[in-house]
Subunit: 193 residues, 2 copies
DNA sequence: TTCAATATCGAACATTGTGTTCACTTTTGT
DNA sequence: ACAAAAGTGAACACAATGTTCGATATTGAA
């Protein structure tokens, strides 16, 4: 039973479109980019664009999925190396990953970024935090009185809040330092009352 | 030197447009509302609309300015009554004011709300917190190491975070309780280390 | 009450961006 | 080599924005 070979044209076209959108976002911000801009820069026909994506939001989110895959790759690599301690800081990885692609992240999440991506990012962080935290606590007395979903919502909002400050100020401190501030301001107070 | 009497037509038209937008937002959310919807419901000519506002964002912000005035009215009334203690909780007033207009606030700030208003609200809260806090602290040892604008940014994001949770869950707790949670989670940890 | 000023009306128009269609061409995997 | 699949781009339909302008209605002030 053979694998059906994927058509290279599809991969090429989609990647060209994602790259075109990315460079256009860096130039003038997501809102100002039109479908026409994208297909001009990507050298792709109009009907081809719509054969692949519902619209530019869809293309954007497909690019965001790429970023997520890169992040998860890094995450799993690190887990594999430090095989015993799965207690590795998830938040630090977020900050480090952001640093690696900070221009793109700033265009997407900073002032004038794309609200769509901000929402997606927020819900992705929320989901990851939920997974990561459900294992590690559960019996902290300080959290008994606070609804769990509020705690998660608060932690992911706080992370995004520090992240946007960091990006909008062009990374004035290291990833380790901003992560430390995040813990100092949002995480430890909740865990230690 | 007499005051020029204001033309009642202007006030009436602008208020009709604001009211029309508000009711349309409650019905189908800001994004889905078109200028045509607004002028149909307000019974106002198309050119008249554009004689008053650049577009629907502009009209929306003018409505938001109205809300701000209502809030500041309440704020100053309370300051006048409790004449000595200007230590009245600013955040509690935000939550209480939100409760009074919670349907509108939910439509504007909750899931599916208007990103424009969220940004405006965020920057308004930031500005108010800055004014309110600049008097009261200044020499807290825990804050020496954290950039002040990050602290303000964090506090206003946290406030918005709790507010949206509160709205999206249809006010499951009282204004006093959500304010207490805000202090417990975000404010006190910063002030007391 | 009169009246000049000005706000409103609304239909017609120009413009911009979206999304679809389709006959034709090119590329791909086998 | 060749059938299947993907890409092309011009032409279209459409939805919403924003402007223009001559005619009409309302207003504030004398």
């Amino acid at each position: 039973m053979k694998e059906k070979a994927p058509d290279r044209r599809i991969q090429r076209t989609q990647q060209q479109l994602r790259d075109a959108l990315e460079s256009l976002i860096l130039e003038k911000g997501y809102e100002a980019v039109t479908v026409q801009d994208i297909i001009d820069r990507a050298n792709v026909g109009r009907s081809t664009f719509y054969a692949h994506f519902w619209g530019k939001e869809n293309l954007l989110l497909s690019g965001f999925d790429n970023l997520k895959e890169l992040f998860e790759e890094r995450y799993h690599n690190i887990l594999a190396h430090k095989s015993g301690s799965n207690n590795m800081e998830l938040s630090l990885l977020f900050f480090q990953h952001t640093q690696s692609y900070h221009l793109l992240y700033k265009a997407l999440l900073g002032k004038g970024g794309s609200d769509l991506v901000i929402k997606q990012f927020q819900s992705y962080v929320t989901e990851q935090l939920r997974k990561h935290l459900e294992e590690g606590w559960g019996n902290n007395p300080n959290l008994k009185e606070i609804p769990q979903d509020l705690v998660i919502h608060f932690l992911s909002s706080s992370l995004l809040s520090l992240l946007t400050w960091w990006l909008d100020n062009d990374l004035p401190v290291s990833a380790e330092r901003i992560n430390q501030l995040y813990h100092q301001m949002a995480v430890e107070p909740l865990l230690q009352g």
